[in-house]
């Protein structure tokens, strides 16, 4: 997995192009944001006045992020395939540049989603993050994992006829090793309890494995 200067230029061009198109179409961003907002608001209303454990809240946050992300990521390659631009992109850009360009675009979209939904979540559930840096580190590592797994899964399901149902079914088991430590670390960031940094290392290592596997597999798609 070696990226040359021209590949970096291609990656930057693909990220920029996807952002311009994403902002003009708005549908994908709107779907992600509205899903997250609706889920957080309805869950907050239904648990109003009830004490909710930090572990449950942490799981809730990641469930919202996962499904909101699913709503946005699944179209990463499919929108291009539907529009007929994927063959053109594949002809002019290097395969690895396409994969990493899409992956970075997805990651930045997820960061935007989280910047939007996290403050709302913390306010509506009246949560104070005792260890805010741990929360940020956990969320960033979790989002990288979802972006890597989601981009590969989106590429895999582009040619499937039942992609809408297939995407979350395939994505969930791949991202499970990320979610378990992410939920546990998010809980500790809420409570301020002592944490073992090895969980962060496990998440980072799994992300590296996911990115490497995606890079190797994408050449065969």
């Amino acid at each position: 997995m070696k990226l040359s200067n021209s590949r970096f230029e291609q990656i930057a061009a693909i990220v920029q192009k996807d952002f311009v198109i994403g902002m003009r179409r708005r549908a994908t961003f709107a779907a992600m944001m509205m899903f997250a907002l609706t889920a957080v608001a309805s869950l907050s209303l239904s648990t109003g006045g009830i004490f909710v454990e930090a572990k449950f809240l942490a799981a809730l946050l990641w469930v919202v992020i996962f499904f909101a992300a699913s709503a946005g990521i699944s179209g990463t390659f499919d929108d291009e395939a539907q529009a007929g631009t994927l063959p053109t992109l594949k002809l002019y850009a290097d395969a690895q540049a396409i994969l990493f360009g899409k992956m970075i675009y997805v990651l930045l979209s997820l960061v935007a989603l989280t910047i939007f939904i996290l403050p709302i979540f913390l306010i509506l559930f009246d949560v104070t993050a005792e260890n805010f840096f741990l929360l940020l580190a956990t969320i960033l590592l979790g989002l990288i994992g979802i972006a890597a797994a989601g981009t590969l899964t989106a590429a895999l399901t582009t040619s499937a006829t039942v992609k809408g149902g297939l995407f979350p079914i395939l994505l969930f088991p791949i991202t499970l090793p990320i979610f378990l430590p992410a939920i546990s670390l998010t809980e500790l960031s809420f409570t301020g309890g002592a944490f073992d940094s090895s969980s962060l290392v496990v998440m980072a290592a799994f992300n590296l494995i996911l990115i490497t596997a995606a890079s190797i597999l994408y050449d065969y798609l």
């Binding site: 021209s6 230029e9 291609q10 061009a13 693909i14 192009k17 311009v20 198109i21 003009r24 179409r25 529009a83 007929g84 631009t85 063959p87 053109t88 594949k90 002809l91 002019y92 850009a93 540049a97």
Partner: protein
């Protein structure tokens, strides 16, 4: 030079190409003709390594870059004409100046001073074809794969296209899949595919 070495390709039970071996040299326009379904577009995709043969191999030097104008190679409707040109040129490591874009527009008969900031979704089929043609000229490729390239162009567009092909052919390998008499007439060599 593009070399087909004992290439075979089937779709299901339909055998499209069987043990084809040929060399295609640069400096001329090579036409690929045949009836509908003979495999003209597939031949171009094999030549450009866009698809892989079932057996045999297609070879050309690794540093050769490909560009194409084909019905299934769409441009981005949500981007303007200029943005499409910038994007595809950037993918090939080139940065286009505004003057270069206007010049490309003139060469293909598309007024990019007026329509440069218009999204491609608002273009007619012929204007899109001219934009694809401008992208082809902008990326400086060594191999051109042209699949019925003038199908949606008016006489002026066809004339400009033919002129550019003739001017470009000394430095390139140009494969042109067609059933059009005028397109066949500009070819220096014809590969006729049997049905």
């Amino acid at each position: 030079m593009i070399v087909f070495d004992d290439v075979s390709l089937s779709f299901g039970r339909q055998e499209l190409f069987k043990n084809i071996s040929l060399n295609m040299r640069g400096g001329k326009v090579i036409g690929v003709t045949g009836a509908n379904g003979a495999g003209k577009s597939t031949f171009l995709k094999l030549a450009g390594k866009i698809i892989r043969p079932d057996s045999g191999a297609v070879n050309f030097p690794a540093d050769k870059k490909i560009a194409a104008v084909a019905p299934e190679m769409k441009i981005y409707d949500n981007l303007t004409a200029q943005e499409n040109l910038f994007f595809f040129a950037k993918l090939r490591g080139k940065t286009l100046s505004a003057e270069k874009i206007y010049e490309l527009g003139e060469r293909v008969g598309l007024d990019l001073k007026t329509f440069g900031n218009v999204r491609a979704e608002n273009f007619s089929t012929g204007m899109r074809q001219r934009l694809k043609f401008a992208i082809l000229l902008s990326v400086d490729a060594d191999i051109w794969l042209l699949d019925e390239p003038t199908a949606n162009l008016d006489d002026d567009g066809r004339e400009k296209f033919f002129r550019e092909i003739q001017a470009a052919k000394p430095d390139k390998i140009i494969l042109l899949a067609t059933n059009d008499r005028a397109e066949e007439n500009i070819c220096d060599e014809i590969i006729k595919l049997p049905l």
